[in-house]
């Protein structure tokens, strides 16, 4: 749950701000790595899963 909270904050804590945007792929990868989520499953561009 602590990881989930950290994901929620990293992704959405600025969502009501004018400059807010969805994190790009490299930022997403960085968010996951910082909270210990690594490997192809958590890679937003992993070829293994044929990213769109």
């Amino acid at each position: 749950m602590d990881q989930l909270w950290q994901m929620a904050v990293a992704w959405y804590s600025t969502r009501l701000d004018p400059e807010s945007r969805r994190p790009d792929a490299s930022e997403i990868r960085g968010i996951f790595e910082r909270i210990g989520l690594e490997g192809d499953f958590w890679d937003p561009q992993a070829d293994t899963f044929r990213a769109s």
Binding site: W42, T48, F49, S52
Partner: protein, 148 residues
Amino acid sequence: MTTDLDTRIKLAVYRGAAERGILPRAEEVASDVSVKVQHVRDSYARLAQRRLLVLEPDGLTIRMAPPFSGVPTDHRVRSGGIAYFANCAWDALAIPAALHRPGDIDSRCGQSGTPLHLEVGLNGPGPSSWLFHVSVPAAQWWPDIVYT
């Protein structure tokens, strides 16, 4: 110019959701931003491309403005006297995070169906043994984000 308009419309959607607990209708957004509904439709399409909105097929009804849901879900959040629907368990935590307010979450265990209640403070939820299960790899989240 479309960037400025998109920002104004995005804020009208998100701040409208934050203030009322429901996603505003396109007509309300158009009135709020002082543009025609067609301009809202065009902007919604661009915001959807940027993965800030998920639209219904009519292009004017918002299904998701993550973390807010445009339809009732099993993930209910109450904060500041306002009730919200979240798209998933992650978004249920994300609503207090986006609002920068404490919240109360009523949800349901995805495995057993057991009702769950969680209090979320400004620094997150208290200790629990709950697990958040992710079954779809990150690279495949968006092609069917409603399922994800």
